[in-house]
Amino acid sequence: MRKILALVSILFAIGVSVSTAAVLINGAGATFPNPMYSKWFFEYNKLHPDVQINYQSLGSGAGIQQVTEGTVDFGATDGPMNDDQIKAFRDKRGAGVLHFPTVLGGVVPSYNLPGVTGELNFTPEALAGIFLGKITKWNDPELAKANPGVKLPTSDLLVVHRSDGSGTTYVWVDFLCKVSPEWKKGPGLGTAINWPVGLGGKGNDGVSGLIKQTPYSIGYVELIYAVQNKLPYGKVRNSSGSFVKADLASVTAAANGAAQNMPDDFRVSITNGPGKDVYPIASFTWLLIPEKIQDAGKKKIITDFLTWMLNDGQNLTEALTYAKLPKAVVAKELKAISKIQ
């Protein structure tokens, strides 16, 4: 009995000493960049064993909410905070919030068409029509004229979208709003939409599962998920008129176009950007850092992590199929880190 007690108290003392030495930083937010953030925080912890950064991928909305409430030290979101949310943050916390782009992602139209090999081309009008419920058959003229050599079936189209609120949805409908006034007036822009048609899948995996299992279906998923699940996905026509397939190069090209006119707060939408090789449905994902961080220790770690992320961290992105930030954006962000008080 005495031995057990001694052992337990020794373990407790060790536990306490270990835990008090480490600094714990909490973050929450977007699910899209979760694999990248996990890798980054792991690598950073290897370099700085006394720092532990804990990230919960609860969703962009939760990230915005939690960082505003102050329950986490930083947030993450696929869709930038709008002016109302920034004002709410300022009202609640007394200072502002800064957006830092971390990586780039793309959203692709994925489909299940038995008997059709090769990639399909989608015009923005076709995608808007499909998701509005106006285009109901695969051999609709809008689809046929973009795919002259392909024999499209006469079956009905089944639309698949996200049932949960998501940054992926935000990027997709941001593009649709830009290319379709009808979409903009109707379902509009948001992370959760009143979809005119379609089945809802939970998460990128729910959507890809539904697409895989349902013939003649079409939906949208994150580029990485399509690649990893070996789902066929089509090319989308960009604003310059070329049909581009999503990959690291075309997504990075989308960001390069935006880098020229990057606003100071980094809140920019890069969908439907200009350029011949640009993939039109791409987006940054952001970390939300409060302007004023009370705890000096945490502030130092966060600024140090951001610097590391913008330099060494960017070299780790392509292995996980995330596109890295353009150099111009990185340079601008490094300067912006000094805004953190």
């Binding site: 609860l58 969703g59 962009s60 909305g61 939760a62 915005i64 909410q65 949310q85 009905d156 089944l158 049932s163 949960d164 609120g165 998501s166 379902p187 509009g188 822009l189 948001g190 992370t191 959760a192 939409i193 009143n194 379609g198 089945l199 809802g200 899948g201 939970k202 729910g206 599962g209 539904l210 299992q213 349902t214």
Partner: protein
């Protein structure tokens, strides 16, 4: 001493229920003031425009639970009768053990199995057969994409059957031997004994298990959201995709930005709480009424 301790234990249950109800009511002030009773009869769920209506979810919750109960109750009670009355003790014990294992399977796993195993089977084999024989009924019309009220109902029935079986079996086995022996002595057959003597005696317990199963079916989240199609619409056909209250809360709560959106989801929770309460209450009243007729 025993009295006050057990009173305290029972009292905390009452307290927890009251707190949950109060919190749901208090946090849903915004949509209650904005929409009033329209919330319960509106079909639109539009977070972008700020229009919220609960009707498709209430419909989906009730329909999937009813389908589940229709499948699970006969199956559950039948199995319980077999296990308590008719099976040799060895088989009865082994099967009961397996059924209790079924009850321990997490709901997400049921959802995965439902989506990857059950839905393809329904699509390829079961539903065509169903449509072949009963296709003229409006509840089996329309396109079938695998995910539907029906699929959700079937998955739910598998999940709730263990509750019905284990509790009913215990209750049936607790019926005194004298009752059975008296019935047999009066010349009844095995089936007559079971149907007319044992079951009525165990009626209350079996009803309790059915309510437990119903409560689980109404509140089940993950398994339902993976096979119901997540489409907020009201269709007569069971083969159409639908939505349920628990599923929409699970799907949208974390990303719900904005007080009205969040509070509307909380109001949905309040609706579910109330619906469960009402269904339970109505069912108990119904039983009370029928029992009074057949005074036991």
């Amino acid at each position: 001493m025993a009295y006050s301790l057990t009173l305290l234990a029972a009292g905390t249950i009452f307290l927890i229920t009251a707190v949950i109800f109060y919190e749901l009511y208090a946090q849903s002030v915004l949509p209650r003031h904005k929409f009033g009773w329209h919330f319960l009869v509106t079909q639109t769920w539009d977070p972008v425009a700020g229009q919220f209506g609960a009707l498709p979810f209430i419909y989906g919750t009730v329909v999937t639970s009813m389908v589940a109960m229709l499948i699970a109750v006969p199956q559950g009670i039948g199995s319980a009768i077999f296990l308590s009355e008719l099976a040799p003790p060895r088989i009865s014990d082994a099967l009961t053990f397996m059924i209790e294992l079924l009850a321990a399977v997490p709901s997400v796993l049921y959802g995965l199995i439902g989506f990857y195993v059950l839905v393809p089977i329904l699509q390829a084999d079961l539903v065509p057969v169903l449509r072949g024989s009963l296709g003229f009924l409006p509840i089996f019309q329309g396109a079938f994409y695998g995910v539907s009220y029906f699929s959700a109902g079937v998955v739910l029935s598998i999940m709730i059957v263990p509750f019905i079986i284990s509790v009913s079996r215990e209750v049936l086995m607790a019926v005194p031997r004298e009752q059975r022996e008296a019935a047999l002595a009066l010349g009844s057959t095995r089936w007559q004994t079971t149907w007319r003597v044992v079951l009525p005696f165990a009626f209350k317990g079996i009803m309790g298990s059915i309510f437990l199963a119903l409560a689980r079916a109404l509140g089940e989240t993950m398994a339902v959201t993976m096979v119901v199609g997540n489409t907020p619409q009201i269709k007569a056909s069971l083969l159409a995709p639908g939505y349920s209250i628990a599923a929409v809360i699970a799907n949208e709560f974390t990303e719900a930005v904005g007080d009205l959106y969040k509070s509307s989801l909380i109001e949905l929770g309040l609706v579910l709480f109330t619906v469960t309460f009402l269904i339970n209450g109505l069912a108990r009243l119904l039983i009370l009424a029928t029992r009074r007729g057949t005074a036991a």
